[in-house]
């Protein structure tokens, strides 16, 4: 037998609840992040007013629980996909940053070799290479500054 007592200036109330009912109530309250004593307190203090305003909420709770479970499943799937894709993207992204730097170095070497050998230097791709270097390094700089 559990005892729950509530005192006020005018009267004292004592409630006795069977262990089994108390344990079930306490477990349910804990699942909802509540303290059973607060629930009991409210039940006693508001015993005249506490009635289901919108009818019995249990069927509604069952259907909303199913809806929440469905949404949680969708949320988990999307979050997992997003986490995997973020990993893949950053791997590709750093590959781009590295490759664009390597490309500019090779382009500079190519220009020097053209000059040294008297070959005509073709700068067709240079602007694109420079643009890619800036694109991936500027973004990288922003990410480093943000601490990402």
């Amino acid at each position: 037998m559990r005892l729950f007592s509530r005192s006020s200036r005018k009267h004292t109330e004592i409630i006795e609840i069977e262990d089994r009912a108390y344990i079930a109530l306490r477990a349910r309250a804990e699942r909802l992040g509540l303290d059973i004593n607060q629930v009991l307190e409210e039940a006693v203090s508001n015993h005249e007013g506490e009635s289901p305003e919108n009818g019995d909420l249990r069927p509604k709770n069952e259907s909303i629980k199913k809806e929440a479970e469905k949404l949680i499943g969708e949320h988990i799937t999307l979050s997992s996909k997003l986490a995997a894709l973020r990993f893949k993207y950053f791997s590709t992204y750093y590959g781009c940053a590295t490759e664009s730097m390597r490309l500019l170095a090779l382009e500079a070497e190519h220009r020097s070799l053209c000059e040294a050998t008297g070959q005509k230097y073709d700068s067709t791709h240079y602007q694109r290479e420079k643009g890619l270097f800036e694109k991936y390094h500027q973004d990288l700089r922003v990410r480093v500054e943000k601490g990402e």
Binding site: H11, L32, L40, A43
Partner: protein, 97 residues
Amino acid sequence: MKIKLIKSKSPHGRRQELHEIDIVEKCEIILDRIEHEQRSSQVDRLKSEIPKLKAELNDLESRQHEAETDLKWMEGRVDELVNRNRELLAILRGSSQ
């Protein structure tokens, strides 16, 4: 389970019954209400987060596709330049001998 709410002292010095209530039922009603509030709020939160996740996923897929295209082009261009520079180096070595 029915319980009796009792005044400890009546005007005549006796215990006085006030009400008889089913405490378990009252608690269940309170818990039903709180569960309903919590679940409704959880559903609202999920409903607002899921479209954001979908949008983020679409955006990232598009950026991934773009980065893959860029990387493929750069890898091809690196190979091209490595070969071309090797040829030019051979010319340079040939001319210096």
